[in-house]
Amino acid sequence: MSTHTKQTEWQEQELAASLNRFPERKEEFTFHGEVEVPRLALPENIDDEYLEHIGFPGKYPYTRGVQPTMYRGRLWTMRQYAGFSTAAESNKRYRYLLEQGTTGLSVAFDLPTQIGYDSDDAMALGEVGKVGVAIDTLADMEALFADIPLDKISTSMTINSPAIVLLAMYIVVAEKQGVPADKLRGTIQNDVLKEYVARGTYIFPPKPSLGLITDIFQWCSSNMPLFNTISISGYHIREAGSTAAQEVAFTLANGITYVQTAIDAGLETDHFAKRLAFFFNASSNLLEEIAKFRAARRLWARIMKNRFEAKNPASMMMRFHAQTAGSSLAATQIDNNIVRVTIQALAAVFGGTQSLHTNSRDEALSLPTEDSVRTALRTQQIIAHESGVADTVDPFAGSYYIEQLTDAIELAAEELIAKIEGAGGVVACIENGFIKRQIEQASYDYQKEIESGDRVIVGVNAFQIDKEEKPELLRVNPAVEEAQVSSLRDVRAERNNQEVEATLVSLKEAAESGDNLMEPIIAAVRSYASLGEICSVLRQIFGEYRD
């Protein structure tokens, strides 16, 4: 096949279709001096080897990206994870970010919320509002999105075990704004499998948790077609200390499990698979990370096509969000972190991410201040508008180094996935500790390198300084917990408690019968039943996971 034929095919099909949907950001992309920036650099000969391994952006196996025009068409979403203390405070921060040019909201919840405890629960003491916003009832959700039109923005919610409850709340808030569920855009993380091995906010054991996830897939595929129902995450696995290949392997293995679970529950692959999204780490080794993203994309496409026999191209496209590596941030000479984040953000952009969060320079010390967050956002904006990297697609394609590395990571990940499958699958490997042990060993090795000085971390084990100025840090007001508990009490007093009881009883019955729990939970949430009350019912029926 000649170069021209395959290229023409792509131009006339995928590229044309994309340009029809939306044009590129500019009429022309040029360097200073009127020289045109190539949309897509290609080799002299487009042979079968090239087509099979590298291919065209927006076309299987998607190595070069999931959209034909990538950032020439639309920049990645600049989505800064935020949220702390009360819903009202977080609402302020969201409106600030929207003003500063953020294009999507990302909600951080506090630990009690993530683990299904109300703010007045004994387990919540001292933790309310600390790492994110406290949401107890629909009232908090309403305050969180006050004056934010849910039909105009997309919202990503980092919530896993109780995701079904928070999603229900989001739907009802939108309803009250007059926005129907089928117009809502966003993502819920909803990836419980990684919680057991890397993040720790699990509630129920794996089997019933997978049941809740399928309930969400099922309900949303019919009622909320624009919403991503899961963000299969490797970020936390990497943060826990895994290697790049392990990050890809464990994430995709989890993805395989979710797809299989959904199929076993009677869903059709092409019906839900296009709404699966991923979430990766953007770590410090720039070139390794670029290769990693490309390898992950290609491997997932192959898995969806060959193993799950997906027919719709959208089912094979790995769309992902990336976050720069939190664990790489230093607590000393914190301005250096801005440099780290810049390199990591570049890695994600070269890697073709659909949306990106950049960490703030002070995050190894505390939640970020407004100034720090603004700098983090500016980092993305400078990359987008000043560096030129967004004006062409996958510029590293064809680099001997990058292609070799992409192949190597894909192979290593494939082997690890096969090992997990051979050992009975992800759930079995969670229960027997295999995945955890792999991560722990990698983490240990890495840390030893730092402790011995083999791996240099600037400002931490080399190039330290003696005296440092103390930066201004954000402090969460301890009165927040009191305020939250008090407003929860008010809600409980003002709501119709009989109605709440009734919805909880219905929920219990539905859970015992194995019904889809989305509707019963929406009903409970609408009556202002609290997160803790709902999760309590489920805890009784599903049990609790203990490590």
């Binding site: 630990l111 009690p112 993530q114 683990i115 405890y117 387990m123 919540a124 003491l125 001292g126 933790e127 600390k130 790492v131 919680e195 993040r199 720790g200 906010t201 943060e239 826990a240 200390g241 664990s327 230093a330 607590a331 000393t332 190894a364 010390l365 505390s366 939640l367 722990e440 983490s443 240990y444 840390q447 402790e451 931490v460 084990n461 103390k470 840090l473 969460v476 490590d547």
Partner: protein
């Protein structure tokens, strides 16, 4: 490292809801490499559970890790629970995401030492060793 004396016993625990155990696990292994017998109690433990376990296992020292900002409430709670159970003599060390200005307060509330992120493991291990030895010496004098 212990020579003729028996190995030091240490409990490493994560109080509260924070699930990030990478640091705690690394310190546990590093302590083991230094000859400690390490009892790791995992994540999501209450102060009472940590204290009761420390007493039951007759440890020489307790290490706590917290990255979620709840250390001001959780660490002193462990110290108090140990006191309640007759273990006021057991030193408690803590580490994680802890701003400098909280250190003094924590030390005042009975913590033996606090490590902020980036502290070299060697420093941390040394503190555990010193605290354990002091505990043993104190015991021998009784």
């Amino acid at each position: 490292m212990t020579t003729e004396q028996s190995p030091y016993r240490v409990l490493i625990g994560k109080p509260g809801l924070d699930g990030h155990d990478r640091g705690a696990k690394f310190i546990a292994r590093a302590l083991r490499d230094e000859g400690f017998e390490v009892i790791y109690t995992g994540i999501r433990r209450t102060a009472a559970e940590i204290a009761a376990t420390a007493i039951q296992e007759d440890v020489d020292v307790v290490g706590l890790s917290s990255l979620s900002g709840a250390h001001l409430r959780l660490f002193p709670e462990v110290v108090q629970e140990l006191k309640n159970r007759g273990g006021a003599d057991i030193p408690v060390l803590g580490g994680g995401v802890i701003p400098d200005e909280d250190i003094e307060l924590l030390l005042k509330k009975g913590m033996n030492a606090i490590f902020t992120s980036g502290t070299p493991a060697a420093t941390i291990i040394q503190s555990f060793t010193t605290a354990s030895q002091q505990h043993r010496d104190h015991d021998a004098q009784k």
